[in-house]
């Protein structure tokens, strides 16, 4: 078990290093390879109408004229331990994790990320709970009643759930439940939990359900397929031969064994969503990381784009690490083998 955890931890660290290398490469090194001068690169980090002084300033702050390796070292150090930017006579302290400054707001990127993260996390986690509970329940019932009317109806809806895009289901649900029936507030009404918990909840119900619908559909199909397979296993027959009630056979013996592949997919899905649910956030006007990413790309706010990219990658790596550890708890063969 200990060796397994160490292996996974090392794996996660290696992944994170790789992520930093790739992002660094894309944002700082590739442009250079492509023939851009350091002035041009610096211009990207300054804003839309860069003055020569600002460019010179940024070049020095980011150390763009340093050798690539030194730059990468500084960049890494900034994320892990924070970093000091020398700008002429003054020194800007940028505490860890330092992703630099947005040139639009001149705020540290980190602060904006911290500001936006709760909305995305609320959306992703709430939806995840709904889709896990809904998708797995529907999948189990479908598998047990394979071929029945219920099964066929559920799988048809699941198929449409997978194929309908968020902006369609999202807009339809907004039109119906918010503008026509006025049950839930419309788009753009999000408030942080700490400010207004009731509003927070009301504004998130529709996004949760819409986002969960998309994923629940996939999880229902996944669960159904897994359950159909495990229900044919010899150990299920043994469980029945012992005289266990069917409910125990299904939940304790069959479902538990079907959950491992679902956990893997769940890790990827949740990790990706925690970096920003771009379409859902845009459709419902939720000020999360996804919208931040889109806005930053549109306005060419490179430090911000870099920050969101890193956050997304880190959340995927971290969530997958958690899933790997859960795996060891669920399946003793992983832990002891």
């Amino acid at each position: 078990m200990f060796a397994y955890i160490i292996r996974r931890l090392i794996g996660a660290v290696v992944m994170l290093l790789l992520v930093s290398l790739v992002t660094f490469g894309i944002f700082f090194w590739l442009p250079k390879l492509a023939g851009q001068t350091t002035d041009q690169i610096a211009a990207g980090f300054v804003g839309k109408a860069p003055t020569p002084e600002a460019i010179q300033d940024t070049k020095e702050r980011l150390g763009l004229d340093d050798p690539v390796l030194v730059q990468y070292g500084d960049y890494l150090k900034g994320i892990v331990a924070g970093r000091d930017y020398k700008a002429g006579p003054t020194t800007d302290k940028c505490p860890a994790p330092c992703f630099g400054y947005s040139f639009r707001s001149s705020q540290p990127v980190r602060e904006t990320l911290v500001d936006r993260a709760p909305a995305t996390a609320s959306l992703a986690l709430g939806a995840a709970i709904i889709w896990l509970a809904g998708g797995i329940t529907i999948g189990v019932i479908s598998a047990l009643r394979r071929g029945s009317l219920w099964d066929r109806a559920a799988m048809f809806i699941a198929l449409s759930g997978v194929s309908l895009p968020i902006y369609f289901t999202g807009l339809v649900s907004l039109a119906l439940f918010s503008y026509s029936l006025e049950i839930f507030p419309g788009g753009g009404s999000y408030k942080d939990f700490t400010d207004d918990p009731v509003r927070w909840f009301q504004s998130l119900v529709l996004p949760w359900v819409t986002l969960a619908f998309l994923y629940a559909a996939m999880y229902a199909r996944l669960t159904r397929a897994g359950m159909l397979e495990t229900m044919n296993e010899d150990y299920i027959r043994t469980a029945r031969a012992k005289g266990l009630p069917e409910k125990t056979v299904v939940t304790k013996h069959a479902l538990r064994a079907s959950l491992t592949p679902i956990m893997t997919v769940f890790g990827l899905d949740l990790g990706l969503l925690l970096g920003g649910a771009v379409l859902t956030e845009s459709t419902f006007g939720i000020p999360g990381l996804g919208r931040l990413a889109i806005d930053s790309i549109r306005s060419g706010d490179l430090p911000m784009v870099l920050g969101v990219t890193l956050i997304t990658s880190i959340s995927i790596v971290v969530i997958n690490l958690i899933v790997d550890l859960l795996y060891a708890i669920v399946d003793p063969r992983v832990r002891l083998g």
Partner: protein, 355 residues
């Protein structure tokens, strides 16, 4: 040894029998896209406490389907089960799912063929035995755990108090099979069905497991059905033999009779293909020609006729008329059109000398 074959004409009367286990005219059919698979088609037998019945037959003859049928483990949605199964005065085919479930594990238990795939990989061996015990016995976890350790010790697992917390994949094949047996016996079942309990194991372990089953049977005085294609296992363990072919019983006899004066050509074939350690390899194998019949289009008349060397000796009756299972001697039944004298003659003159 007295046979326990059911008296003719008793099948289908719906009356509770005197025997501990009585199966009457059991039919288990599976409707499939290719047609109706008649895996078991009119099987009857009896078994008393303390006795062992060996069921033998080639692969696909319906042995496992029969045993799962007795335990009520067929899914009503894809299997048609008819006939009667009487266990201890209760009829099981017509009983509700819940009633049969309550009997499973407590009054009748099963040991499966492959002990690795038959145990849940995510739960400890102890947990799985405790679970089996606690469904039927209202005891605390500690009591059940102690019982599980006792059972593991009884089936010969060393350091049972430690191994109880191991997972199935940490056990060797033989130990897993022992653990399966401990699980099956945890509630003192009166009927134990062992479906090829030793095929996955090597020879020495096989012998140990068989010894174990025999000892435990004596201790608990349970009725045992031993399913196998290995006649050696049957010879060692069983009191009576039921020879199955294409879902039906073709011969039923005490072990002595089955080995020394079998009365069915298929049984002769089985005996002929049984490896014997005291003979040269070339001499001993007289395999049955041809392959097992389709269970969808079972051959007309006697299902064995396409492979039977004596099918022509009966004025065509072998291909047109199904031979009934007739009691020829007390406790010895066979289903074949050949006149009894002729069969004895063939056995003594042709078959026995070659075995």
């Amino acid at each position: 040894m007295t046979g326990t074959a059911p008296a003719a004409g008793k099948a289908g009367t719906g009356e509770a029998p005197a025997a501990f286990l009585e199966v009457r005219d059991l039919k288990i059919h599976f409707p499939t896209d290719d047609g109706l698979v008649k895996s078991v088609d009119g099987l009857s037998f009896e078994l008393e406490r303390g006795r062992t019945l060996g069921i033998v037959g080639e692969s696909g003859s319906g042995k496992s389907v029969t045993s799962l049928g007795v335990l009520g483990l067929h899914n009503k949605r894809n299997a048609n089960v008819s006939g009667e199964i009487w266990l201890n005065g209760k009829e099981l085919v017509g009983a509700s799912q819940t009633e049969v479930r309550r009997l499973r594990g407590r009054e009748m238990a099963m040991i499966f063929q492959d002990p690795l795939s038959s145990m849940h990989p995510f739960y400890t061996v102890g947990h799985q035995i405790i679970e089996a015990y606690r469904v039927h016995n209202d005891v605390s976890k500690q009591v059940a755990r102690k019982h599980a350790i006792d059972m593991l010790g009884k089936v010969g697992i060393p350091k049972p108090d430690k191994r109880v917390d191991d997972y199935p994949h940490q056990f060797s094949g033989g130990m897993r099979q022992r653990a399966m047996i401990a699980m099956a016996l945890s509630c003192d079942p009166e009927l134990l069905i062992a479906d090829e309990p030793t095929t996955a194991l090597d020879v020495t372990v096989q012998a140990q497991i068989l010894d174990l089953i025999r000892d435990l049977q004596q201790e608990f005085n349970s009725a045992v059905i031993m399913i196998t294609h290995d006649l050696g296992v049957v010879a060692e363990l069983a009191d009576d033999i039921l020879v199955m072919y294409a879902g039906r019983c073709v011969e039923y006899a005490s072990v002595d009779n089955a080995f020394h004066q079998p009365l069915h050509p298929y049984t002769w074939g089985l005996l002929g293909s049984m490896p014997r350690l005291d003979r040269e390899r070339s001499e001993r194998l007289l395999p049955i020609v041809g392959s097992p019949p389709s269970l969808i289009n079972v051959p007309s008349g006697c299902a064995f006729h396409p492979r039977c060397p004596y099918a022509d000796l009966n004025d065509g009756k072998s291909t047109t008329e199904r031979p009934e299972l007739i009691e020829l001697e007390p406790g010895h039944k066979a289903a074949c059109h050949l006149p009894l004298d002729k069969r004895r003659e063939i056995w003594t003159d042709e078959i026995r000398p070659k075995l």
